[in-house]
Amino acid sequence: MRNPLSDRIVGIKPSGIRKFFDIVSEMKDAISLGVGEPDFDTPWHIRDEGIYSLEKGRTFYTSNAGLKELKIEISHYLERRFHLSYDYDKEVMVTVGGSEAIDIALRAMINPGDEVIIPQPSYVSYEPCAILANAVPVIIDLKAENEFRLTAQELEDAITDKTKIVVLPFPNNPTGAIMEQKDLEAVAEVIIRHDLFVISDEIYAELTYKGRHVSIAEIPGMWERTVLINGFSKTYAMTGWRLGYACAPAAIIAQMLKIHQFAIMCAPTTSQYAAVEALKNGNGDVAMMREQYNQRRRYLVNAFREMGLPCFEPYGAFYIFPCIKEFGMTSDEFATRFLEEEKVAVVPGTAFGDCGEGFLRISYAYSLENLKIAIGRLADFVEKLRAEKR
């Protein structure tokens, strides 16, 4: 029999998180700091709207690009929060989570052999999606001394005459890094000069702790070069609803929509009705969640300082990315021993790119009470390792 599999897909490494997931799920009493989703329930008024839409029998497909009402709310939201103007009819589409938007944006823009610049550490799907889209991924290793921000020089150095797209994953999972206006202006200059496009994954846009998030699309000359991706998962604690969106110039959205139409048809209808409610009346929920994440963030920054683990202060998302190089172990070894000996799961930085070596991703999508228990165990573990070294 012939090999039924595609060489390209077989060649893609499975997600580095999988291995940990398998160990942790067998360990009953393990506690976890490894989760990449909010601990809050979706606010009740949003869930209620989803339930109500089911009761009313709104169980049909929506149009491919999404409910008109939702697209209008999305364009209002982007205008209100980021002064970005998108025509709801031609420049906005609703997707199955931000993840689908990443995939179809790449597929809609890539010709075989085009290079896509991906700064790492970053979310696990950019590189495989680029490969699946026939692109050549070019990785930039972001640096701790730059607080894992992308600098204009790093970008400049990665550009070749084949470069077409730059992925901008900020606020960043797993590092918690953000890009402020001046950082964005610096890279925008390079992008415009080399005539490149940007896929800007802004799924954590509402979770920043140093002023409001700035979108690269706000920088003059960048709107027409940017596919902006956002969604409801992190902002409104709606991960399981699988709902995101992409905004871009009409010519790009039209092609993305073609892939979406043939592969997906439309995003879940119930989720879309719930999302309308989220955008209309969810501001207070977002503020409440942001405040609580921020309190936990401050708690962790302080705890790592007391432990003496080097860690830059993260201003975005709900992750902190401490450095464990002093122990002379790989991230994987550290995380495995920590799990076995203290029964706490964290994700090794290498799950998000090779340059995550020497770091751990710690999520603070947990209540302060739970964080305290887990961080107490981390402090014990760090003491133990230091004693071993002596």
Binding site: S15, I17, F20, F21, V24, S25, A30, S32, G34, V35, G36, E37, D39, Y123, V124, S125, N173, E291, Q295, R296, R298, Y299, N302, A345, V347, A351, S367, L368
Partner: protein, 160 residues
């Protein structure tokens, strides 16, 4: 900081001051001063414990009583409210808009004790026109806390 501080201690008044300072991103001394200031301004009125008495062996009966009263010249409702709130078994007194005037939350050891309060203390007051007593059968949620349910983390333990 004041507003955020209040939101935190409204949910958890036992949080220690050092930790409070850390999560608010301020100095401990500033937290101490701010709390002292708010205590003296009467913004912080007490530090209570939310107890689900149902789960203890102690018998308690709670009731909400709607009261219609005649306001007094020059005093409005304040005088009559004061006469009522001075009873220690009265937990709360609110002036209400709508069909009646005062809403009283009452806690007693038994049905008899509550009835006694209504018939012998409350109803005979001169300005009280009528009362309607509602006994509380079950508390689902109190002070923003759901009493029946414990938080369960149903998320996958590791996710990207």
């Amino acid at each position: 900081m004041r507003e955020e501080l209040l939101r935190v201690i409204e949910k958890n008044s036992r949080i220690d001051l050092k930790e409070l300072a850390v999560i608010l991103g301020v100095e401990e001394i500033d937290v101490v001063n701010e709390m002292a200031a708010m205590e003296s301004e009467g913004i912080i009125c007490g530090y209570h414990t939310l107890i689900d008495w149902e789960k203890t062996s102690i018998e308690k009966v709670s009731a909400l009583i709607e009261v219609r009263v005649t306001p007094q010249r020059g005093q409005g409702f304040d005088n009559i409210a004061e006469r009522i709130y001075k009873y220690p078994e009265v937990h709360a007194v609110y002036l209400i808009s709508g069909g009646y005037d005062l809403l009283i939350a009452l806690e007693g050891k038994s049905l008899k004790e509550v009835s006694y309060f209504v018939s012998d203390k409350l109803a005979p007051l001169d300005s009280v026109l009528s009362t309607a007593t509602h006994f509380i059968l079950k508390k689902y949620k109190d002070h923003g806390t759901i009493l029946a349910r414990k938080y369960e983390d149903n998320r996958e333990k590791v996710s990207p």
